[in-house]
Symmetry: C2
Subunit: 185 residues, 2 copies
């Protein structure tokens, strides 16, 4: 599997990777166990602090690990990991050690106990910013407190879920910077 | 501009279009005025009811129109509308009639007063499901109550924002249905 050389990245600029809506892998740690889940329901909510929200189904094994630890890492996989992402989404951490099963490497974070997935293009360490909507909506609002991003390529090839087993693969980029007011970029 | 032939679509299946994370146009109506804003911070939150959340900056002219009317339409533009989407995001409804300025056609919705944008591939009529996080997080939680989707193509070419004036255009599809458990699709 591909290994990326990652650098610290400003958390106020992580929209570059998350706003386009890719599937991400959420890693967690609780009481000596680590786990991974596949997630597509998430959004940016702020630049500084860098807020990020996600919906986690409460039947996922990760739900309680994440709710109790109040931490997670959002890992951004590139298309070469698409089969692993589907596999991770189709088994449960109750019975499977997903790092071992899918050949992924947990690496220590700087600010959270949850592990980074080394093979992913980027890793965003998150601390719970607001848990007030977990009980009602399964909605977690995170502050991204540390970001690790591959030095290249500038724009990773990501995969985006359409449901029903179908993924959209990210395509070409278009630069329309000249059409923006500077304060609207 | 392109005109789509749209059909009613099951609201429980709109993740096909929204989960991949495209830029959408949000239309609103309040006190005899209509408006449009460009939005990239949104996520699916449920199938049935079909819940959808979005962050709307409170300095946008649309913010008060949407907060007060408790309704909006989420319109899905295809790449041929990318210049209009940038233009809409770089002016204000305080001073510009955006439908007229950008040559877009407002069409009546079935269940909300906010107009559909006829030139968009899909239109999702929304009623506010939970406004409890608007004051704290600018977060609106919607129920999509009616969906209108073009009969073809099955997967529209959408654009996704990376910030800094750069967009990602949706690429090819991959079908991995055979790798899913039926209940996980």
């Amino acid at each position: 599997m591909r290994r990326f050389h990652k650098l610290d990245f400003p958390v106020s600029e992580i929209r570059r990777f998350l706003e386009p809506g890719p599937i991400v892998l959420v890693s967690s740690a609780w009481q000596g166990k680590i786990n991974i889940m596949t997630m597509g329901w998430h959004m940016m909510m702020g630049f500084s602090p860098a807020l990020f929200a996600c919906y986690i189904w409460d039947e996922n094994h990760s739900f309680e690990m994440i709710r109790r630890s109040k931490q997670c890492v959002i890992n951004l996989p590139t298309t070469d990991l698409i089969n692993q992402a589907v596999g991770i989404g189709n088994c449960s951490g109750r019975t499977v050690d997903k790092f071992a099963e899918f050949g992924l490497t947990p690496a220590p974070g700087e600010k959270v106990e949850a592990p980074l997935i080394q093979e992913c293009y980027a890793n965003f360490e998150c601390r719970l910013a607001d848990g007030g909507q977990i009980a009602r909506h399964n909605l977690f609002i995170w502050e991204v407190v540390q970001a690790h991003v591959a030095a290249s390529p500038r724009y990773p090839e990501t995969f985006h879920y359409r449901g029903d087993g179908i993924f959209m693969i990210s395509g070409r980029s278009i630069n329309l910077r000249r059409k923006f007011k500077p304060e609207r970029l």
